[in-house]
Symmetry: C2
Subunit: 344 residues, 2 copies
C-alpha cells in the first residue's frame, strides 16, 4: 500500500522519474533505475489501479464476454477463458467477466464507464447480438470466432476450411478414394459459427480432389455413443476408408470403439484425422493425427489485435485466420505406403 511519492523519496528522485522508470516511456539512467527498482521492491510498491486508470489513457483491463449457451462445450470454453486470461496477463492486462444476461448491457456499461480498454468476444454465434454492440461502443472489440455479419469487425479464428482441406489432402494423398466425416450434433450446424465451415471445407475440397465423400452428424441435439457408432458404421458400410472427425473426446472414443469391434485397425484399414480438437488426443485407444484448434494461439492474436487497436495506427477490420497445423501421430496411411499398395 506504499504510494509513488514514498518510492520517490526512498530512491531520492522525483515522482515523475519513478513513473517513467516503471512505464519505460522515457529513458532513465541505469543507476537511477536501479535505485528506484530497489525502493519498489523494498516497499512492495504497486501503482494504484484507480489512479492509473484515471490519469493514464489505459485501464489495463479487457472485458471478456461469454454467453453461457446450453450447447457450449464447457471444457473447450474453459480452455478459451484460461487462454484469454494468460494472453492478457502477458501484456499486463486483466480480464473482467461479462456473462450472458449482462453481455449486451454489460458491454455498453463497461465501455462507457471507461472500466475496460477493449472487449474480447467469446463463443460467437452466427447471428450474434454482440455484433451490433461492437459497432456502437467506442472501444476496440475483437471477436474470437466469425459471426455471419462481420462487416467492419475484427475477427480471429482458426482457418477451419483450410483445416479440413488439409485433412482431406492427407487422406487423398494416402490413396483413399472414399472418405467420410463425423461432425457435431445437427443443432451445432445451426447455432455455432464454425461447424459449418469445417463441413464446407471437407465437402468442397473432397469434390475438388474427386473423392467420394459422406457426412454424418452425431445426433439431433446431444450425441450418444450409440448414435456415433451407428453413424460410423454407416460410413464404413458406404466404403469409407478415410475418416475425418470434428467432435468431442467422447465421440472419438466411440468411433474407435466401433472400429475395434469390427476388427478394423488404424491406420491399416481405416485412416483417421481429427480436426479442430481442443483436447488431448494422445490418451485415446489409438493416437490420432490432428489439426488442433489451439485456444492460446487464437487468444494471443486477439489480445494483440486489441492492443494494437489502442495505438496510433490500428489494424484494419477483417477476419484474421490462423493457418492450420498438422500433427502427425501415424493414424493416416502415408503416401509412400499408399503408393506401394497401389503398385502391388
Amino acid at each position: 500500500m506504499a504510494k509513488i511519492d514514498e518510492v520517490a523519496r526512498a530512491a531520492g528522485v522525483s515522482i515523475s522519474t519513478v513513473s517513467y522508470a516503471l512505464s519505460g516511456k522515457r529513458p532513465v539512467a541505469a543507476d537511477t533505475r536501479a535505485r528506484i527498482e530497489q525502493a519498489v521492491r523494498e516497499l512492495d510498491y504497486r501503482p494504484n489501479a484507480g489512479a492509473r486508470m484515471l490519469a493514464g489513457s489505459r485501464t489495463h483491463i479487457f472485458a471478456l464476454t461469454e454467453p453461457f449457451r446450453l450447447d457450449t462445450h464447457a471444457p473447450t470454453h474453459m480452455a478459451f477463458v484460461l487462454a484469454a486470461s494468460i494472453a492478457a496477463r502477458q501484456s499486463d492486462y486483466d480480464i473482467l467477466l461479462l456473462t450472458d444476461e449482462e453481455a449486451s448491457a454489460g458491454m455498453r456499461r463497461v465501455a462507457s464507464s471507461g472500466l475496460v480498454d477493449g472487449v474480447l468476444v467469446l463463443d460467437v454465434a452466427p447471428a450474434d447480438e454482440r455484433v451490433a454492440l461492437a459497432r456502437q461502443i467506442d472501444i476496440p472489440t475483437v471477436f474470437i470466432g466469425v459471426p455471419d455479419d462481420h462487416d467492419g469487425l475484427i475477427c480471429v479464428d482458426l482457418d477451419f476450411e483450410a483445416a479440413s482441406a488439409l485433412a482431406v489432402d492427407r487422406l487423398a494423398d494416402g490413396a483413399h478414394r472414399t472418405i467420410g466425416m463425423i461432425g457435431q450434433s445437427a443443432i451445432a450446424y445451426e447455432n455455432s459459427n464454425f461447424p459449418p465451415r469445417v463441413r464446407r471445407g471437407f465437402e468442397d475440397h473432397a469434390r475438388e480432389r474427386g473423392l467420394e465423400h459422406h457426412f454424418r452428424t452425431t445426433g439431433q441435439v446431444r450425441s450418444s455413443a450409440s448414435a456415433v457408432r451407428r453413424a460410423t458404421g454407416e460410413l464404413l458400410d458406404a466404403g469409407v476408408t478415410g475418416l475425418l472427425l470434428h467432435a468431442s473426446e467422447e465421440v472419438h472414443s466411440a468411433v474407435l470403439a466401433e472400429l475395434a469391434s469390427r476388427d478394423l485397425s488404424v491406420p491399416r484399414d481405416v485412416s483417421v484425422i481429427s480436426v479442430a480438437s481442443t483436447f488431448d488426443l494422445t490418451s485415446l485407444a489409438a493416437p490420432i493425427d490432428d489439426i488442433p484448434l489451439v485456444p492460446q494461439t487464437s487468444c494471443d492474436l486477439a489480445v494483440d489485435l486489441a492492443l494494437r487497436s489502442l495505438e496510433a495506427d490500428p489494424p484494419s477490420a477483417g477476419i484474421y485466420l490462423i493457418a492450420p497445423t498438422y500433427r502427425d501421430r501415424g493414424s493416416v496411411t502415408p503416401p509412400h505406403a499408399a503408393v506401394e499398395a497401389v503398385a502391388s
Copy 2:
C-alpha cells in the same frame, strides 16, 4: 462519455448534489433528484470507473480466483462462475478473473494495487495455497468451499454432511435397511474438499440409524460407464434397496441403465436420491429426488459476506453452511408405502 459536471449543469445543480443523488448517501429533494435523473438519462451518463475507484473507498470489483484443475468438472465450474457473476452484478459489482498461474501472485497483485474490494475463491482444495494468501492480503476473502485449514477464514458451502444425512433419513423412513452410496472417482476423495464430507454424512448417519451401508467410488481417476454399472451391481448384490448418488450426470444415467437391465424399477424395487447435484435431473430416464447444490445460493451468500466485510461491523470468520433442501420427484418409497409393505 458525459462527465458529472455536464450532468450538474444540465440539471442546474452542483456536482456534489449529482454525486449524492446517484449514490443516495445524502437526502436529495424529490424534484432535484428528478431533474438529475433526467439529465443522466439524456446524456447517458455513467460515472467514470477509474475516478470512482480513486476518489471513493470502493472499486466495485471482486476478484474471482479459479484454478483450472484437471479434475474440475467443467460444467459445474461454469455454473459457479456464472452464479458468482450474477450475484456480484446484483450489488453493482463486476468480476475480475484470476486464473491458476496467477491465483497466488494475482491475488496479491489485485489486492495491493487496489483493483478489487475483495476476493471470491472458487474450487477450493483441501490444502489450498490460497488460504495462506487470504491471511496475508488486507481485503476480505470468501471461500466457496472449505479447505482443511480454515482458521480465521470465511467459508461458504452447502452443508454436505446434513445433505447426506437427510438422504439417509429419507431412505430409512422408507423402511430401507440396507443402503448404498455411489460417489465420485477415488481421486476426488483426496483432491477435493467436499466428497469426503458427503461420504462421512452418509456413513455416520447410516450408522446412527442402524442401517447396513456400503460405499463405492466410480473408479480410480475417471469414471467409466462400465465401472459405474459394476459398482451398482455390487451394491445390489449386497442387498441394497436404497441408493444415494453423489456423481455426475453420466453416472446417474449409468446407474439407471444398470437398474433397468436388471428389470428393477424406481422406486418400486430400488429408491434413489441424488445428493449435491448441480445439473438438471428431470431429463433422466427416471426423475430422481435430489438435494441439490445450488451455485446461486452459495454465490449470493458469498457476495453478501464479502460486501458486509467491507462495512463497519464485518461478519465473523467461520464456516457458513447452507441448509440442504429436499426436492421430491417420487424416486423414494414414501414412509406410508413402507408401512403398508411391512404391514402386509
